[in-house]
Amino acid sequence: MESAMHAVSTPTSLLGLVVFLPLFGFIINGLTGRKLKNNKVVDLFALGTVGASFLISCVLFVKLIGMEEGVRSLHQSLWTWMTPGAAVVNGGVTHATIEWAYKFDPLSGAMALLVTGAGFLIHLFSAGYMGEERNDGRYYRFMAYMNLFVFSMLNLVLGANILMMFLGWEGVGLCSYLLIGFYFDKDFAAAAAKKAFVFNRVGDMGFMVGFFLLFMVAGSLDYDTLMGSFHGISALPVITLFGHTAAPAFWFNIIGVCLFLGACGKSAQIPLYVWLPDAMAGPTPVSALIHAATMVTSGLYMITRFNFIFVQAPLAMETVLVIGSLTAIFAASMGLAQYDIKKVLAYSTVSQLGYMFMGMGAGAFTAGMFHVFTHAFFKATLFLGSGAVIVACHHEQDMRNMGGLRKLMPITFASMLAATLAIAGIPPFSGFFSKDEILWRVFEQWYQGGTHAGSSLYLICWILGMLGAFMTAFYMMRLMVMTFFGEYRGAGNDPHHLAVASDPHGHDDHHEDHGHEDHHNGPKEVAWTMWLPVAILGVLAVVGGFLNLPLSLGGGEHFSKWLEPLLYREPAAAVHASNVEYGLMIFSGLVWAPFAMFLAWRFYGADAVWSTPKAFVTRFPRVFAWVHNKYFVDEGYQAGIIDPVVKGSVGLWKFDAGVIDGLVNLTAWLLRQGSGGFKRLQSGRVQNYAFLMFLGFLAIALWKYLA
């Protein structure tokens, strides 16, 4: 295996600014926001710092493009964070120190651009979306948390060693908690925040074990050092740790599986995905930024960063592949039966993340990372657009109460339509080039150029992926049709009785005294601060695919070539496309997905009373109940894990209150009884005291003789 990995990096002094500017925004807004009560100042710092970060990232990126391919890396070490001293690792004793350092190379640079760029657009959107909070005095808190999130995410992607990534990892988990639970006075929001944090922590345990083992094996946590030394480590015959001797692949498998467990927690894969749908309790910009574009992709970034481990660990790769495809189809099926617009998008996110992991598991790291970027574009568009729709419909989130918004909100409609076509995988939108690339790579692992030499696991996963793609196209079109087509069903205008009595101050509601007077106007297009970011992201969803046009279609595969020096893998063997590839492309892009979208149009658009879905629900009520209730996974966790733990805790509490407190109380009781006895000496009578004095005199007088 050859690679262009190296340990050379060019120092620069701008990197620290990229990361620390949002932190300054957080500190300034956090400390002064409440007192100043000036929303314009808050906006200036919040948007200004993230925007400045984006501009500096662009400057550094341009610089990176100008460098030679083999040495494309900028770094800056700010200070030495930890000096552990001597550590006994695989090769002997290491004196590695851990620096607070940043590294801007093709992968982390692209991610930094995404984080700051999408972050800036979403900050701009929030300035319009969080309208009530501006008057409430809570706005500064939101912007401060968002800035803290951007800071943590930049630490994660730009960190030069695993501990920096872990710092950012934990930081984004914390910010996710803070932002999901932004309306902390609502019970379900607080519970959802806690759930997100706890599931993230379960994953973090795996991540920690993984990188502890990696440190034991490699003796360093720094990326440059790891990439440079991995060749040597994988060439060793055996590695002995903790008294167990095995081939390096064994240890890499364990490391890979543990790191993937961390990714499962952060990127919402089975079995740790349940926090993501509940996280929709937070404000919509939070869902867009954290749970679509950035935080949930940190698991994928981590796997791509450690591709040199995964490639050597076949068991870990298979685990990633299987879990990814299962999640993809499982979550897509749950998206079919949801009525809350944000929940549909949440399950869609889980499903698309499954696709990305599927790609990584099949060895297609660049395809998976490209899907990260295109997904960020179209999912952020969808979330922000749904946020605009929710605001326009006066905080209505149930799709059955929407409809006909196409004419009322044209710009939002156009952006969301573009994003829907992208996510469905219709060419030439971006999703086609990323998702289909993943599916093709999985297929190719089985097909192997016609010899069918690959394991049939890949075939099964490919079938699951194709089924998931069908469902994705179906439910996204369903969302579009229910929301934008037909007639507006809110405000009592419901001839076919499709609307449900929903609480109009639903999940996304904040307080009770916002303008009731405009409830009786219909929804209309939102302010420019809201439709402009959606439109920008929509355009990116359309054209972004051309960054990685595959060779078979005559493109340059720029993105893949950009990332390639970081990948520890064989160069692509297939240089010319086969007919199978073209055939699959045409099938999935022009037949499979459009057919699903046509079905959705038939059921929900052309038919004003939605007779077919209703007939299905009446025919198979149990099936519908299972899918609508998310297969009762949450209830399963509650009964299987949480309740026994709670019972155990109650038992321990009883032990503590009974036995331990009982011992303490027993001591006190004994003392009281003892002093009760001594109390009787205090009779208050002089003659008793005289008697005692006499006894004392006797004792002293006879002391010498008694001894």
């Binding site: 109390k679 205090q682 009779s683 208050g684 009578r685 002089v686 003659q687 005289a690 008697f691 006499f694």
Partner: protein, 100 residues
């Protein structure tokens, strides 16, 4: 003339009778009288030792102690009278306000 042994013995007996009286009787006045008895026993001892050594120190001390005893009796009896006036009793068993 008395041998020092006899004096010691007599004064010891008087002293122990005094102690017994203090510890036994309920009447405050009898207790006070027994305290005086103890003081007298000590005086006897002093005088005997003074005689035995030929100095006047013992006599002087005994005289002074007599004076102190008189003062003490005066104050003690005044106390008894005051207590009697307040509580109508001088049984020491009834005086247990300091009871804890």
């Amino acid at each position: 003339m008395a041998s020092p042994n006899a004096v010691l013995l007599i004064s010891f007996l008087l002293f122990s009778i005094g102690i017994a009286g203090v510890l036994i009787r309920r009447n405050a006045l009898v207790i006070l009288m027994c305290i005086e008895l103890m003081l007298n026993a000590a005086n006897l001892n002093f005088v005997s030792m003074a005689r035995h050594s030929g100095t006047v120190g013992g006599h002087a001390i005994a005289l002074l102690v007599m004076g102190y005893a008189a003062a003490e009796v005066a104050v003690g009896l005044a106390l008894v009278v005051a207590i009697y006036r307040r509580r109508d009793t001088i049984q020491v068993d009834d005086m247990n306000l300091l009871k804890g």
